[in-house]
Symmetry: C3
Amino acid sequence: MKLIISIIQDKDAPRLIEELMEKNFGVTKMASTGGFLKSGNTTLLIGVDDNQVDEVVDIIDEKCRSRKQMVTPLPMGGPGDSYVPYPIEVKVGGATIFVINVDRFEKI
Amino acid sequence: MKLIISIIQDKDAPRLIEELMEKNFGVTKMASTGGFLKSGNTTLLIGVDDNQVDEVVDIIDEKCRSRKQMVTPLPMGGPGDSYVPYPIEVKVGGATIFVINVDRFEKI
Amino acid sequence: MKLIISIIQDKDAPRLIEELMEKNFGVTKMASTGGFLKSGNTTLLIGVDDNQVDEVVDIIDEKCRSRKQMVTPLPMGGPGDSYVPYPIEVKVGGATIFVINVDRFEKI
Ligand SMILES: Nc1ncnc2c1ncn2[C@@H]1O[C@@H]2COP(=O)(O)O[C@H]3[C@@H](O)[C@H](n4cnc5c(N)ncnc54)O[C@@H]3COP(=O)(O)O[C@H]2[C@H]1O
Ligand SMILES: Nc1ncnc2c1ncn2[C@@H]1O[C@@H]2COP(=O)(O)O[C@H]3[C@@H](O)[C@H](n4cnc5c(N)ncnc54)O[C@@H]3COP(=O)(O)O[C@H]2[C@H]1O
Ligand SMILES: Nc1ncnc2c1ncn2[C@@H]1O[C@@H]2COP(=O)(O)O[C@H]3[C@@H](O)[C@H](n4cnc5c(N)ncnc54)O[C@@H]3COP(=O)(O)O[C@H]2[C@H]1O
């Protein structure tokens, strides 16, 4: 059993989840925030059999399109801070995928 | 050390957490959403010693009652979509439990 | 590849994330709640190369100061409950860190 933890863009979540549901995979979705852009994204937990990992990674790849975007990372400091925001181009979309071994899996 | 990641029903979270607190277990709770029903549920992170895994799995089993419920999964598409919602019976409650090995644990 | 899951205090999150960003680490932040105090805290997911684990654990240690605080754990019961809240001193701040092995890592 493996647990796939995948961080994806909010925009890509509905289509990805819809495809995983059609293929009868189990998915749990959580709201998260990227450390760099401080904007909301989505973290999915997908528990799968060992031999299903490749299929799920391919589905994530297919549904989470990578794209470029101009963004201004938000300053985190207070009024005394000398941070000056400037826009930069970053690659967003895509997905960050961690495949983790599961010692023991129980469905109660 | 093991990290137990357990997805449970919101209704069962208070009693489960109360029991884990009484037994001095550490628990972190997060809001999550099921991929199929699109409704809110709860994901718990419970870090335990290897020899405490059985006890915690038993507590989760005892506190998270499985029950049947009629639900209508929410459509994800827009106005052009031809999705027709229909009610189905699903088993809810229960718990989905992943026991994960922890390479290194630090309490700072 | 390792996945560091770290539960920290909300107050310490901005400075910790800022330091991790300056060192070019990837971080995903999630809102969470402690099982004991029922108050909000922060869970970070930090995927790192095996040889970067020590550096990240040191940064977390440095940025998440441990401190004592008087708190009253919130009762979970309803009106029939005989729970009587009383203030206790707990150590808050600090961090709870789980280092998890990653079988496979993909950036899409
Ligand atoms: N120091 C820097 N300088 C310039 N550009 C930078 C940068 N750090 C990040 N970026 C860019 O900004 C995008 C959003 O990063 P963010 O941290 O908000 O949101 C991230 C974060 O939530 C998560 N993530 C990525 N790598 C991670 C890791 N190693 N551990 C945990 N979460 C990670 O996936 C989201 C998307 O990451 P992705 O790499 O596709 O896309 C990144 C990357 O293209
Ligand atoms: N394709 C399908 N056709 C008919 N009925 C379906 C179905 N997919 C799910 N169900 C039913 O709906 C319940 C709620 O699923 P949901 O995905 O919203 O919420 C799930 C999800 O958040 C999580 N979960 C279950 N299996 C998972 C897995 N392998 N990976 C990650 N999360 C999982 O646990 C929650 C409860 O799951 P549980 O299996 O007890 O209960 C499921 C199951 O009885
Ligand atoms: N039975 C008890 N009696 C007296 N005092 C108690 C207690 N249980 C916890 N405390 C104290 O209350 C603080 C907050 O715990 P909480 O569960 O709200 O919030 C916890 C929880 O969200 C997470 N955590 C700690 N250990 C964990 C574990 N083994 N598994 C999962 N999450 C854990 O880290 C947060 C901070 O934990 P930390 O140990 O630094 O700080 C704890 C501890 O000092």
